[in-house]
């Protein structure tokens, strides 16, 4: 009889990710990126033009973007990777329900986001000292980033379940992120009518806009709260789909039949 102990799956998957897996290497690379960016923001004359709150905002945005990227990379490998390595059969034989496998894998992938968040904290502290921005930025990153990471990590897991090839799954995940990140690089986008709609629909664009409104424009947390609708809806819908369709998604070969 299969049990619903998703925590057992999550623990085992986290172990594989962090002990001997690629988790530490990815986080090490992430810290190198943040170090280079923080040092440049503090020393480079062109970048040091940034107001201190903007430097904190830039760190939050890079931390969130790359943290979500790494979460999608991990989740996109979760099922298709096991299929390719031939280890999925033994996982299906364990006395754990298929729904628990999906939820456990999503939780394990989310630990990548939490690790990125923890690594970001010292950089936020050093850049935000004196403007009371570091604590607020950390809390914002935790709340908003977790919503985005959960939603898009779940989408990565869906790609992984629907494809037999790890390459296809990763390519789909990265393409999705590229499509979602590209509009955020247009600074005037939220100020046009259609641009505001695109920003609000895009979970990453709306999350980054909400964060910058609080950190840079010093709005209060409730002023632009409607921008969080997209990340909340994506996180809820994707998690719901994974839980409901979990037993049909976790199959030895991809597809729903």
């Amino acid at each position: 009889m299969s049990s619903n102990r998703w925590d057992v799956v999550a623990e085992q998957e986290s172990r594989e990710l962090w002990i001997g897996g690629r988790g530490p290497v990815l986080v090490f690379g992430f810290s190198l990126l943040l170090s280079a960016m923080t040092y440049l923001a503090a020393t480079n004359r062109a970048m040091n033009f940034l107001e201190q709150r903007e430097a904190v905002n830039l760190t939050v945005q890079v931390g969130l973007a790359v943290g979500v990227l790494l979460t999608v990379v991990v989740s996109a490998d979760a099922i298709s990777g096991e299929r390719e390595r031939g280890t999925f059969e033994s996982l299906l034989l364990t006395p754990v329900s298929r729904r628990a496998i999906v939820v456990g894998k999503l939780v394990a992938a989310s630990t990548m986001w939490l690790a990125c968040l923890i690594v970001t904290l010292p950089y936020l502290w050093v850049l935000g000292r004196g403007v009371a921005g570091a604590g607020q930025a950390a809390l914002l990153t935790l709340v908003v980033g977790t919503l985005v990471a959960l939603g898009l990590g779940g989408v990565g897991l869906l790609f992984s379940a629907w494809t037999n090839s790890n390459k296809t799954s990763l390519a789909c995940g990265l393409l999705l992120l590229l499509v979602l990140f590209a509009p955020t690089q247009l600074p005037a986008l939220p100020k046009t009518g259609i641009g505001e709609v695109i920003t609000r629909v895009n979970p990453i664009g709306s999350a980054l806009h909400y964060i910058s409104q609080i950190l840079v424009s010093r709005r209060n947390w409730t002023h632009d709260l409607s921008y969080l609708a997209s990340p909340v809806v994506v996180a809820l819908v994707v998690t719901g789909v994974l839980i409901v369709a979990g037993p049909r998604l976790v199959r030895l070969t991809a597809g729903l039949r």
């Binding site: 530490p24 810290s31 040092y39 033009f49 107001e51 201190q52």
Partner: protein
């Protein structure tokens, strides 16, 4: 004065612009918001302008991306203006109303004093920028070595 002439006086009165603040101070790079209220206006365009009181060249595009807003006909229209202080010194920020007919109407200036900013503390960022990757790299390396020893 009868009621008709009173209404005519009100209807033909010139539009006015009021600002929510007379003086602001900012650190260079800081983003500021001022509110203006346009009263008794026919349809018009409101334009934000920035003038240096120290003779420094001001590139308006650097200060704000949205320098014009449409003003509908109405008794009171509130307009929010967001701009970034990109030069140090003393500046006057004001709003001009451009009606479809008639002369321009200028609002009162908001005196903005922008001070230079201390740059971020390089001395404090360097230890963090080195220590965090070093600690993570060492932990990764030690973890891998332990695994190899355990496997052999």
């Amino acid at each position: 004065m009868n009621l008709l002439s009173l209404l005519a006086t009100v209807a033909l009165a010139d539009p006015t612009i009021t600002m929510n603040s007379g003086q602001l101070t900012a650190v260079i790079g800081q983003t500021l918001t001022v509110e203006s209220v346009v009263s008794r206006s026919a349809p018009a365009i409101a334009h934000l302008n920035v003038v240096s009181l120290d003779g420094v060249y001001v590139d308006l595009e650097d200060w704000s991306q949205d320098v014009t807003q449409k003003v509908p006909a109405g008794s009171n229209t509130q307009l929010d203006w967001e701009f970034q202080a990109v030069n140090p010194g003393r500046f006057a920020v004001y709003v001009v109303l451009i009606p479809q007919n008639g002369p321009l109407v200028a609002g009162p200036p908001v005196q903005v004093t922008v001070t230079r900013r201390e740059t971020l503390d390089t001395g404090a960022t360097l230890p963090v920028a080195i220590a965090v990757p070093a600690a993570l790299g060492a932990a990764t390396l030690i973890g891998r070595l332990k695994l190899r020893r355990g496997a052999s």
